[in-house]
């Protein structure tokens, strides 16, 4: 029975992906990608990875979808198109891609058996971190360096986006609000954020012991902020504004500070003192959640559109 469900899921995923490739209308392709993201979330739930499912639906499907839809609306009719490929080169590309898929498929089928796993090791060290969710423990304790560098990658991407603003507008505010805000959108922007903020904080808080965590919570908070800006209730901040910059840098700075304090009070870089592991991790997570929320919202908002005041 479950196999039937899985097969239907896989078939719809592949059909949507093919639709994205062959559909001549770009917007229809992007909407198919949105549905693709939601179904992918279901697949992650079937793979017993609820943390990834939440991240995929929030960021991979939702966040990327908003980004692409806004881009499609902004460049409609003006987008750069290259010469379409000739039939033979298209066929050659298809053959090459199919070969890669087949090779990867064989790799999937010939994985080592029994499967190597780090799950017992991850669980063994769990009490030392004071956490209950092993995925959070990997993200913020065992492989904290990855998470730190990832946050810095997000900030670098944001710097890249901001630097696309014309010189005269550097430090100004991005433009998020549509030219006319429809009433239902303004209503939603008034009603939803209180709930959304509670849900975001809840996801951050339970992340220590249950599925959830900084990235999922940060995405929900970013979505609420974007909704308020799109509804025209609050203007987007100027990209040079100090509070915004502090919120963006706060997470990584606190993370780095605690990482270096590890030299003095624990075994080294990014090591936590045993007694303080849980409070330190929660503090880092809180600061990171704010940073992630600000960075994701600003990434969607795009470069400055108005001259700084």
């Amino acid at each position: 029975m479950m196999l039937l469900f899985d097969l239907a899921l896989v078939a719809s995923l592949l059909a949507l992906a093919v639709h994205v490739v062959v559909e001549p209308d770009e917007r229809s392709g992007i909407i198919a990608f949105l549905a693709f993201g939601l179904l992918l979330g279901l697949v992650w739930a079937r793979l017993a990875a609820p943390d990834v499912a939440l991240t995929e639906i929030a960021i991979g499907g939702g966040g990327t979808g908003v980004l692409l839809l806004r881009a499609e609306a902004a460049i409609r009719g003006r987008g750069k198109h290259e010469e379409p490929m000739t039939r033979t080169s298209k066929l050659a590309a298809a053959m090459g891609c199919a070969a890669i898929s087949v090779g990867l498929g064989f790799a999937v089928l010939s994985f080592a058996s029994p499967a190597p796993t780090l799950a017992p090791t991850a669980v063994e060290a769990l009490p030392a971190t004071g956490l209950g969710n092993p995925v959070t423990a990997v993200l913020l304790a065992y492989r904290a360096l990855d998470t730190l560098l990832e946050k810095i990658v997000v900030l670098l991407a944001l710097i890249g986006v901001w630097s696309l603003a014309p010189d005269a507008l550097w430090g100004g505010a991005p433009e998020v609000r549509p030219s006319a805000v429809p009433d239902p959108l303004a209503y939603l922007a008034r009603v939803l954020p209180p709930f959304g903020v509670v849900i975001g904080v809840y996801m951050f808080w339970v992340g220590a012991d249950a599925p959830g965590g900084t990235f999922q919570a940060g995405t929900v908070l970013a979505a609420m902020w974007l909704l308020v800006m799109m509804g025209g209730l609050r203007p987007p901040p100027e990209t040079a504004a100090l509070p915004l910059r502090l919120a963006l840098a706060g997470g990584p700075v606190l993370f780095l500070a605690i990482a270096f304090l590890g030299f003095a009070f624990a075994d080294g870089f990014l090591a936590y003192p045993k007694a303080l592991a849980k409070p330190l991790i929660v503090a880092i997570e809180a600061a990171l959640t704010v940073s992630v929320a600000a960075a994701l919202a600003m990434l969607v908002a795009g470069p400055a559109r108005k001259a700084p005041s």
Binding site: A17, V21, A48, A49, G79, V153, L158
Partner: protein, 110 residues
Amino acid sequence: MMMAALQPGALFGLCGAALVGIGLFAVVASPGLLRRIVGCNILGAGIFLVFGAVARRGAGAGFAADPVPQALVITGIVVAFSASALAVALLKRLAEPAEEAAPAEPRGGS
């Protein structure tokens, strides 16, 4: 080989392998640049799914999946989003008409 396909997660791993091919084809062969970004995301989703199959096989210690690949995928999804955001911003800038891209107004007081 048939037995291997019935292992938990292997079906989704195979689906991931197929998605890699479809996404890669979109990146290589589609003339529109926006669709190439979408293709990149599908490619990434496929690779993440292969990771998911690895994680599912690594069930142990009371957990249905290995947490380490899961955490890597979460990191990957966020990085993929950042890369897409940068690519979309570049694309929008490319599509802007030249005069709009460089307004002549002087910079206002700080």
